[in-house]
Subunit: 479 residues, 2 copies
């Protein structure tokens, strides 16, 4: 924005174009239910309709906004009230607008001095979250630990693993590389990002132990202990256990407390991945998701999943920041500055993979202030209530079975029938455009996942969707 | 946004609050020169003024917007026309609004099916950029290679290293971990993210060779060759060379062509980091930045630095995508879908560290369409022109020396005097709030960096800043 040259958008033009962009978004949410939830496009349909070459002359912003019509054909509507696939990416008005302010300011909070507010608001929001979710006090910035915002839980788990790697090798793996004797443990139901992190960190999947799960798809602690004992016997170094609270497949809850005791006894790093489940702890009655967390060396959960803060916003906490800084900190001459050298300030560039950082704390600030603790509690409680109602309805239809516990807001259910039949049912549901569900396999059974949490969704939406699922099932068995 | 419950912001409320947020940004840019460029705050001043505890009851968005006044005290104004520190994070009206649309849509483009437009527009924008910058054709999506948007060049360089690591070890390091015999080469002037990537990837900094630089601070190819030969003799496996086009310290240009020939002969991965310099190639007369690029196995540059696309937006290309997918791809059951299984589509989750992905292509689309190729060329040419004028002015003042070549838009200059004197000069300049410069050390000389490229800046701004620098120098030598 610059009034001084013809080249750039003037502030006046920005104002007008900005109102139109805001209207475009408001209009989108008003008609969001008119779209098929899952995009019905074939591969390359968008690319084939885009100009082969970039424009030589510029266009007006109004015309760019018109081009959105083309792109809308290829959108899968994550914010539709009928989106129940994967986990939600819940957004909200204050989240969007908080992020807009950050985009407008366009500061890079890599070091404290490059925008003290970006660093300090982030630290403070993470302190607020410790209090809101009743997390261990050692995650507060005033302790030996602390936290920082990451893009996703994949990155959070990766840096946890790097911190553990450095701790186990006494900060030697940064220097000498990995030597193939570190071992890592997580359940067979854990998120794929753990395997990815093990690859990235140079530890190697040969050294990743997938612990068996019990009948509830939660980690089998006996098996964990056996695997660890065998590795110790084999002169390997158990260095990292990732426990999951709310697995992606079925929101199973690993027994963190029992796992934590083993880790503590054997001096193994415990990371807890609570990406989806974490925000439940804002309600005292749902604090079972925090059970055993006092054993955690690091912890992650995602406000962009279930706390109304638009993607990306994953929270990472660590018990002792020293290990993270050992793993990631760098200080080239061109980044040196007076404040950093006095160690009175935190430079968040050392708390993640990228050097540059968006001012993401602003959207958290906006969301927490707009809703207040009570508002977020209401949202979480409402989702838990909707889930229990849906569970009731499914239980009453004899054709279906629910095949995993429902501690949170995901229901894993299926037709009592073959995997093929269930796959066909899901295909028909999603192809209809009326809703979007995803699937998993549990005990090798093809299973539909109905996930609650999209902020636009209400009990009525879910009720209607359930009726439609029943109809799809009826049709499937007639045809 | 939901009209159905009291809990969330209604679309009507969003519309009104959105206009205010747009006005807030427009007003900010109109008065941006009134702020001290570098924040003048002391550590913890922001935190000490924030409420200790999160609010129980929610607030109106208007009140949240008012709170911005407090945060503004701790902002370092990257978009000020007088910001010349580090490298620019150039933004623009169409960049901000393109990103706003993405934030509003709030889709997660992790897989093709989760929003085909997000994946296909990203692929297509990266194809456009290959054409705009005259990059090797093997970076086009129709070839064996392709590209994807990353958050920062730190992540781009990391995934390049991971792809190289897997190639060198014949995809074994993902499985067996690193065994400490891979070696990596970059110049002593390369970005700190290379060292960070070497640590993260488990290769170890003992295996990182910092190649000497010549009088222009560019990589000494003879020394590179010596280091590689020695490592081969020592039974190590040279696996990755990172050449920099436009180093962070001084925008030195490594001799990519010569480096490339060595890499080709010895089958070593060549990654080219052109984070700042890359966009210059949109002007045919500045395509010296592409020299030797046909040897590159991977390449990165940042539209968020010098192409008007707000942070974060780093472009990553690879010659043969197979190596990247070998390194990063994962396919758990809950992500499987018909389209992905047919391999007709690209799932961008396998092109980076995080699983989830923002729809970042939208801001690139908005910027390229708004400016057109010509508009971006005008912007780049104007910055190159301003830099040459500033260079003239500095050269005419005998008290100063320019101590590195100025191939792009960064001038490295200093008082002919002690390091202490120059450090004091920089301190006084930045403390005044009238502009923000950063520094580096070249040949152990403390050197001021004046970096051009912020989109709000004009020749007059730079002229005024130079006059002020002269005055600061005069005052320093009087006092």
């Amino acid at each position: 924005m610059n009034n001084k040259t013809k080249l750039h958008m003037s502030t006046d033009e920005f104002r007008k174009a900005g109102y139109k962009a805001i209207d475009w978004i408001a209009d989108y949410y008003e008609k969001i239910e008119d779209y098929p939830v899952m995009s019905q496009l074939s591969p390359n349909e968008i690319i084939n309709n885009l100009p082969d070459n970039p424009p030589i002359e510029g266009k007006k912003f109004d015309d760019i906004l018109k081009d959105m019509d083309l792109l809308m054909n290829g959108i899968t509507h994550w914010q539709s009230p009928n989106f129940h696939a994967f986990f939600p990416c819940s957004t909200s008005g204050p989240g969007i607008l908080g992020d807009l302010l950050s985009t407008g300011l366009a500061v890079n909070g890599m070091n404290w001095i490059t925008s003290p507010s970006a660093t300090e608001l982030e630290i403070h929001m993470l302190d607020w979250l410790v209090k809101m979710l009743d997390l261990p006090e050692y995650f507060l910035s005033s302790s030996s630990g602390g936290g920082a915002i990451q893009d996703t839980a994949s990155s959070s788990s990766l840096i946890a693993l790097l911190a553990a790697r450095e701790k186990t090798t006494k900060t030697n793996s940064n220097k000498a590389g990995c030597n193939g004797n570190l071992t890592v443990y997580t359940s067979s139901q854990a998120h794929s990002s753990i395997e990815k992190a093990v690859k990235i960190a140079g530890i190697g999947t040969n050294n990743l132990r997938l612990v068996k799960t019990d009948k509830n798809f939660a980690m089998d602690v006996e098996h964990l202990r056996q695997l660890i004992d065998k590795d110790i016997k084999d002169k390997l170094k158990p260095s990292f256990v990732c426990a999951t609270v709310g697995t992606t497949s079925s929101t199973a809850l690993d027994p963190v407390e029992k796992i934590g005791k083993i880790c503590k006894d054997l001096n193994i790093w415990l990371h807890v991945d609570s990406a989806m489940a974490g925000p439940a702890a804002i309600c005292p009655e749902f604090r079972f998701v925090n059970k055993g967390l006092t054993y955690a060396n690091s912890y992650t959960f995602n406000p962009h999943k279930w706390m109304l803060t638009n993607f990306d916003c994953s929270i990472f906490y660590i018990q002792n920041k020293k290990y993270l800084l050992n793993a990631l900190s760098i200080m080239p001459e061109y980044l040196k500055n007076k404040q950093s050298s006095t160690e009175q300030v935190t430079d968040l560039r050392d708390w993640g993979i990228p050097l540059g950082r968006r001012f993401r704390a602003l959207k958290l600030w906006s969301v927490i202030n707009y809703y207040g603790v009570k508002g977020i509690q209401d949202y979480i409680r409402n989702d838990m209530h909707i889930t229990q109602k849906l569970k009731e309805w499914i239980s009453k239809d004899d054709r279906f079975e629910i095949i995993a516990p429902t501690p949170l807001t995901l229901i894993c259910f299926r037709l009592k029938g073959s995997n093929d039949e269930n796959e066909k049912l899901l295909y028909n549901i999603n192809k209809s455009g009326s809703m979007y569900l995803s699937h998993t396999k549990l005990d090798n059974k093809y299973t539909l996942r109905f996930s609650i949490g999209t902020s636009t969704s209400s009990l009525d939406h879910v009720k209607n969707s359930w009726k439609k699922i029943q109809e799809f099932a009826t049709q499937l068995r007639i045809s």
